[in-house]
């Protein structure tokens, strides 16, 4: 981390935004170290007033945060394309978990092969090509392949999947099977790909002034980090509020731990923290608050939808077929649902759109 901070200071000089981005990362890493040490200590010297399962869950959550942080530090140090590839791998893995949990028939095999090995890589390749490739191909600067990757899956993959399934010749539950494969592709790949697509935007403030150094990806990586931080905080706050004050469960048959109190408290706290971190983003104080609120609500929606799918399948977690070990998809469900919203709000209000 010290190296990254040094790099930021030496290369950016007058651009204060960059230093602020690194500050944000520094603060979060510091908090993580504290939380990690606390979790380890609690595990080693158990306090009998605390439930060991709770401590285990806390430690697990911290591990997930480390993973998220590692990905984002990679974004800072390695650049745009490796970050997009990392998100592509996340998509691939969660799609794998999703389809494993979804009953498919023998006739879906070829369509599944296509979504794993053609549509998923193609989506991330289109995001990764970025502005440079667009300019060298079409001679138009400031644009990436948004016009293609925003429709590739919703239009073309959606046309292709039922066609390929139909060609396999098995009519049983045809529409249901196509819909399930399409839902997996949307949630795990299409929605999530909007998170790294943030790296392609030319960020501005709401007044239209460029934010940060236009040739650098560092400020975009900072915004991506802010987004992931807010989603994770939203999840955590909702859990904490539910545990402390939760009384009225929203939908007991979907998820017994999500309550109205948790939702309200969680969204409020997330909004507040998001607003207080406005200095790390192109947003003003109140704008950052609004963004954080939208993200928290969308994240909540994502969690509910994925819970509903899991209850329908009669499983506790995605991931391995062995129950009791949460998979990647359990961790990124809220991220998937919040990413398109955050991307589009940023795109239309805080970036140069040509």
């Amino acid at each position: 981390m010290a190296r990254a901070v040094l790099l930021a200071q030496s290369s950016n000089g007058p651009h204060h935004v960059h230093t602020q981005t690194y500050w944000l990362l520094g603060v979060v890493l510091g908090l993580l170290v504290v939380a990690y040490v606390a979790g380890r200590l609690l595990k080693r010297y158990p306090d009998h007033s605390l439930n060991p399962a709770l401590i285990e869950r806390f430690n697990h959550r911290i591990r997930v945060w480390w993973l998220m942080c590692a990905i984002l530090v990679a974004a800072f140090l390695m650049g745009r394309v490796p970050t997009i590839i990392l998100f592509g791998c996340l998509s691939f893995w969660s799609l794998r978990e999703f389809i494993t949990m979804t009953p498919t028939r023998r006739g879906d095999h070829r369509a599944l092969f296509w979504i794993f090995f053609v549509f998923t890589p193609a989506q991330y390749a289109l995001v990764a090509l970025g502005r440079g490739a667009y300019e060298s191909l079409f001679g138009v600067p400031h644009r990436d392949f948004y016009s293609l990757y925003s429709v590739a899956i919703p239009v073309y993959a959606l046309l292709f999947i039922p066609m390929r399934t139909a060609m396999a010749g098995d009519p049983r539950r045809f529409l249901e099977r196509s819909a399930k494969i399409q839902a997996g592709l949307f949630i795990c790949v299409y929605y999530l790909s909007y998170a790294p697509a943030l790296l392609n935007l030319e960020l501005t403030t709401s007044a239209g002034a460029l934010w940060g150094d236009p040739g650098s990806h560092v400020q975009n990586a900072g915004l991506l980090f802010y987004f992931i931080l807010i989603v994770q905080l939203g999840d955590m706050f909702q859990q904490v509020w539910s545990r402390l004050t939760g009384r009225r469960v929203i939908a007991p048959r979907i998820n017994a731990s999500r309550t109205w109190e948790g939702l309200l408290g969680g969204v409020t706290s997330t909004t507040l923290v998001g607003a207080l971190l406005w200095w790390a983003t192109p947003f003003q104080f109140w704008q950052a608050g609004c963004m954080a609120m939208v993200v928290a609500v969308a994240g909540f929606g994502g969690g509910m939808v994925m819970s509903a799918i899991k209850r329908d399948r009669g499983v506790e977690d995605y991931g391995t077929l062995v129950q009791g070990h949460p998979g990647i998809l359990d961790r990124i469900d809220s991220l998937c649902f919040a990413a398109p919203l955050f991307y589009h709000l940023t795109r239309y209000f805080f970036s140069q759109v040509y």
Binding site: T100, H109, F113, F116, G319, L321
Partner: protein, 212 residues
């Protein structure tokens, strides 16, 4: 079966571990031992058979010390078709059995026992060929004769889940779904146990692991 020596040994040393890693990645398999511990003692792992990947994946998922002493029994007509399959079969040291021409003086069971000697373990699929139905197929008698001729071998049931979705019958390209391999407690042939009773008991041992 001299492939374990000479150039075959070299091939195994390089592509064997590589193949194991790829098989584990593609099948996303998680391995569970239920009332059974990993051990290098001589065993016969018998599993349900739904995909061509079965033998390769089960072999790959075993811990390395066990893997190098374990040989999967597979059909010669499949694994000797084309240079890639032949090379793969040699890399994971498959024990190839002729399904079509069974010679009277050299039965498959005899050949298996001769190949493993006093050291190796076996992976067998007693259903014979790949099963496309939900229920397990009837077991062939090979397992019974293995148990009868070598009563010291531990007969270990294995249930493999989801591999028929990773690579179904008739497909060439795998879809990387997650699968699960459950290894259960060993059984032995009881003294004087009739063949059909034993085969049914073995089949139930595999079936039971499905719900665990």
């Amino acid at each position: 079966m001299a492939s374990a020596e000479g150039t075959g040994g070299l091939v195994m040393a390089i592509t064997g571990p590589m193949l194991a890693t790829i098989a584990k990645l593609v099948s996303g398999a998680s391995l569970r031992w239920i009332d059974c511990q990993p051990d290098t003692c001589q065993r016969v792992y018998f599993a349900n058979h739904t995909s061509h990947l079965d033998a390769l994946v089960l072999w790959s998922c075993l811990p390395k010390e066990i893997r190098i002493r374990t040989r999967a029994v597979a059909a010669r007509d499949y694994w000797e078709k084309g240079p890639i399959r032949r090379h793969m079969a040699r890399s994971f040291n498959v024990l190839l059995i002729d399904r079509k021409e069974i010679k009277v003086h050299r039965s498959p069971v005899q050949m298996m026992l001769q190949e493993i000697g006093e050291r190796d373990s076996l992976i067998v699929f007693p259903e014979g060929s790949r099963n496309t139905k939900e229920e397990l197929g009837e077991f062939k008698s090979g397992l019974y004769y293995l148990g009868k001729k070598r009563p010291d071998l531990e007969l270990v049931p294995v249930y493999m889940e989801n591999l028929n979705r990773v690579l179904p019958r008739g497909e060439v390209l795998p879809v990387p779904l997650l699968s699960c391999i459950t290894i259960g407690p060993p059984i032995w042939l009881e003294a004087g146990e009739p063949k059909n009773d034993f085969l049914n008991r073995a089949r139930e041992a595999v079936q039971r692991l499905r719900d665990r």
